[in-house]
Point group: C2
Chain length 238, copies 2
């Protein structure tokens, strides 16, 4: 973990991007989306505080926020751990995604204007660049975030917030339960989705999204696994 990068995180916060706790929250979510932080990882308050250069007060606020999203589990008197979703929870998360993402997709296809199209295409370009550059972690994160960008395009804050949590939790689930080593979302699926959405072909986009989610879920083997644990200072702030 390079101290310079975590200072960048803090500067972003000073930049009216939100409080320090929110910045740490975002950075930890980023680490999870990039699959650097795995299920069961202990997030000690002093350790996290040392990494980001803040007191435990700020760390506790960040951890509470993460716990509220189901991404971290806080056990009384024992500390905070990256969540280890059960098979049941995994099924529930994907079921919720199969419920909400077609609705988001349909909305996005209906309201998508030039700015929305530009945002989607820019995101797609970022995904492709990460893939081309062999930056697996960024590619994985961007592929998850693509879904959240759709919700932002749809302009529906309630759905967006819910989906943001579902996507972060999906990242943990995929890390635990996936069969293949491949990136879970295929860029060409995202490409086709973008084209359908931008063209306002809602029904087609919805069908594609449904298939896309089914495919992600089919790649999961919903049985229990164990994960190795790495030192926190290698994983955060990255």
């Amino acid at each position: 973990m390079s101290g310079g990068v975590s200072e960048t995180t803090m500067e972003a916060a000073g930049d009216r991007g939100g409080t320090r706790a929110e910045a740490i929250h975002r950075d930890i979510v980023r680490a999870i989306l990039e699959q650097r932080l795995g299920p069961g990882t202990k997030l000690g308050e002093d350790e996290v505080g040392a990494i980001y250069g803040v007191s435990r007060t700020i760390v506790r606020a960040a951890l509470q926020s993460l716990a509220h999203e189901g991404i971290v589990v806080i056990e009384k008197n024992r500390g905070a751990f990256v969540a280890h979703p059960s098979v049941k929870e995994a099924a529930e998360v994907f079921q919720a995604r199969r419920l909400i993402e077609p609705a988001i997709t349909e909305l996005a296809a209906r309201v998508c204007d030039g700015a929305g199209a530009a945002m989607l295409r820019a995101h797609l370009a970022e995904e492709k660049a990460a893939e081309r550059d062999g930056d697996d972690r960024a590619a994985i994160r961007l592929s998850g975030e693509f879904h959240v960008v759709l919700a932002r395009i749809a302009g529906h804050r309630v759905y967006e917030n819910f989906l943001r949590e579902l996507v972060a939790r999906s990242s943990l689930i995929i890390l635990l339960y996936r069969r293949s080593r491949s990136q879970c979302c295929k860029t060409d699926h995202h490409t086709a989705l973008v084209e359908a959405i931008v063209a306002g072909r809602g029904a087609e986009a919805v069908a594609m999204m449904t298939n896309h989610l089914d495919e992600i879920e089919r790649d999961l083997e919903l049985v229990d696994t164990a994960v190795p644990v790495k030192p926190l200072s290698e994983l955060l702030g990255g």
Copy 2:
């Protein structure tokens, strides 16, 4: 505000029901569901701390949790306020309910066993008793909570947590935007829903739920209003 009642809240926490912050969070949600706490009400840390007999640390944790659910808005350097949902947010909340509650209802109808039926009937009995006794506040709260009990019966934690937030936010929305003074959910609708769910008639229950939600939403007039403000100590711990 009777000190005895808030001590009861604290004892419930000591009873492995969760931390003190969680108990305060629950009590504030309860006050909102009972429409004792209206949109825009300031929740000062010291004031809330005095009411519940805790330090600001615990209050801040409770307020953060409420803010995460969209029930309270924390403005930097200005304090925490009960949320005042906009017309757009109101529409989004009800749209999300129209998406998720039929799914919950269908699930509940599929899995409802004898214990589930007993839970639903007990809840319904409580609603009817509150109505009969003229306890409007309890009746309003129980009618909102009925929807969350359905989610619990469905045994789907992701849906349940999401719906819990939506129902609390709905309470604020209804207080702000309703046309009529009547209780927003009619008990006979809940009665009919329970019978269909318990009998496993999923499609019928789903249709009823959809109509029920449409009816609630039709009773809202989605234009901006202002609300009078009452002293906090009259409203919390109730």
